[in-house]
Symmetry: C2
Subunit: 359 residues, 2 copies
DNA sequence: ATGAAAGCGCTAACAT
DNA sequence: ATGTTAGCGCTTTCAT
């Protein structure tokens, strides 16, 4: 369905420039520039005259000219993985909001996983466009392709190889969150916790796995074998079937909520009740997590706060390259306990055909 | 957690410009420009010499200068509602991909619902940045604030009030999809279908409601009262409780999957089984839809295809303002039948106070 | 507190 | 097929 609504003919009346405003206001062009850049030393009435003239003419600053003359674009490039996943999408929204609050515009470039050019290609295209800083939103390990960049870089999570004036790392501590999730299950009395990991090329997936491992290690437990998904519910379902068929599995920590949901489905189909037989914890607290069946226990990170903190740091690095970076905010982490977790089922005597290890 | 990785001191060596490349290649500056713009009339070996010189110097075109001189930014602005909803996020990804394929960069500005400036403010800030075209990703009704814009505008769904050189509308026919969803329930034997609508300020929510209404009207059925959510699972749950308490409700079409999931939760909590007692259809086919309990019947739109089609139209309007717009692609629509829909329960005499077990 | 002049690095229009 | 000359609309630097 496509419709053309209207097309006002060649209304190519040239847009007003700052000289036009200057002429109308009876000042020099430079004064107009001063007003629009909030520079000091402009008397109040001159400022008002200029503003009025601009208003009357419908003047707007030409950003290309501004960028050319000043060498700064007042924009920040974001390299994002082209997914509609809740986490990345939320972070992107947060970044945009934070950027706008600091007066920067956002240029987004997606890299598809498996993209030959990868993040390097995306960064390149941002540099081509001209940006004052770059954000790597979901860093993944693409091998030793170290990249030279002339602007500050913000990486959420872990620092890939960049040679840049400044590299800032920000984000919530995924390790800690994963550890909390795992400890919750342990505290309920489960003797061990299995893990459905995210794709290990993602640094964040690795962090979550490490947090899980650390929680087990802290109680002297060996980590069971990890199964790996791709963040999707579909993958959670697929790899979840292995776990569902293993009666020793009573608690699973999934690296995100989507995989947790897929896992629950696999468990239910295998006739194992959640949480009666198996407890499941997710990660992210996606909006549906509270409403799926059963409502999902999960950990939540505040994407907006993360984005804001990171962006402020980046802008600081852009605008005051000499200053040391301020410390990062300490961001709260929430474990949200719902109905998908419970104490393990009571020990049953070894039934026929059922292996019951001591442990 | 924040860490500063490195800061190479004032390595402010000036970036090479096209004259530098020209000098090194032994040609004029204009020839360099020709090469980088793929203009005709450049001999193969001169082109190669220029490319080599550029490579050697690490030259990249200065976009600000280019934009200033040409009056075009080769970028497209997107006005997006700042949500991490699956639909909008998917569309945004599709837009970025499509734009990049046509050589345009993307500038995103979010409007939060209830933003005083609204879409008008967002468009304004895009115009400030300088864009060659604008995309209104999820148009909502903000009243009669007609806006004057100097560049072509693409609106997905329905056309808000814009005075622009060209206004293009694109998108899948939501009415048709809603109608299919409703007819599926009717075909199963339900005597009527209830509807959880999206926020009526969204044109798309209105379209879905109209499609539902049309399907009922086509069979001579009166539409039951509509309940309205805000797209979220939480709202689906809240308004779904009303529906759950009404034993005449046997079939519900929710305007998106999230609300459908919230509704299912409300139904289950009220002791009504899905699909045995009540059938539910969603809209979007979000990735978890196939894995929730029960797997959700829904309709799917191909966001990538929608985005690509719309963007090609927009680029056409930008680059060939004289030409008439080509016709839009005819995009496929899928009804995906899963386990949340079934024939209505057999008529029973009103059994009151009967508690049903959870599904 | 305000103004004049000189670019920023490119593309456009016109040579040749 | 290649080069020359003007700007594009600002910010900068330096005067005043």
């Amino acid at each position: 369905m496509t419709r053309q609504i209207g097309r006002s003919g060649g209304s190519a009346l040239p847009l007003p420039r700052s000289v036009d405003v200057a002429r109308l206001a009876g000042v020099s062009q430079k004064t107009v520039s001063r007003v629009f850049n909030d520079e000091p030393y402009v008397s109040a009435d001159v400022r008002q005259r200029v503003l009025d003239a601009a208003e009357q003419l419908g003047y707007r600053l030409n950003n290309a000219a501004r960028a050319l003359a000043s060498g700064r674009t007042r924009s920040i490039g974001v390299v994002s993985l082209g997914t509609a996943l809740y986490g990345p999408a939320s972070l992107l929204m947060g970044i945009e909001r934070a950027a706008r609050n600091t007066g920067y515009a956002i240029r987004v470039v997606n890299t598809v996983e498996g993209d030959p050019a990868g993040a390097a290609g995306a960064v390149d295209s941002l540099l081509d466009q001209g940006v004052d800083g770059i954000v790597i939103s979901e860093p993944i390990d693409e091998g030793p392709a170290s990249l030279r960049v002339d602007v500050p870089v913000l990486v959420f999570g872990a620092p890939p190889a960049f040679v840049a004036p400044t590299v800032v790392t920000a984000g919530i501590d995924s390790r800690l969150m994963a550890r909390m999730a795992t400890e919750h299950l342990l505290d309920l009395g489960h003797t061990t916790v299995h893990h459905i990991a995210g794709p290990q090329r993602w640094y964040d997936a690795r962090d979550r796995m490490e947090g899980w491992r650390a929680a087990l290690a802290a109680r002297g437990l060996d980590a069971p074998p990890v199964v790996e998904g791709d963040w999707s519910a579909a993958s959670g379902y697929t790899v979840g079937r292995e776990l569902a068929s293993d009666n020793n599995v009573t608690a699973v920590f999934a690296a995100n909520d989507d995989m947790a949901i897929g896992l629950v489905r696999a468990l239910v189909e295998a006739g194992r009740r959640v949480p009666d037989d198996v407890s499941v914890v997710g990660f992210d607290d996606i909006p549906v997590a509270a409403y799926v069946n059963p409502p999902l226990t999960t950990v939540r990170q505040l994407f907006d706060a993360v984005a804001e903190d990171g962006l402020n740091l980046l802008v600081h690095a852009i605008e005051k390259p000499q200053d040391p970076l301020p410390p990062a905010a300490d961001l709260p982490v929430d474990l949200i306990i719902r109905a998908s977790t419970a104490p393990p089922p009571p020990r049953t005597t070894p039934a026929r055909g059922r292996r019951q290890p001591l442990a």
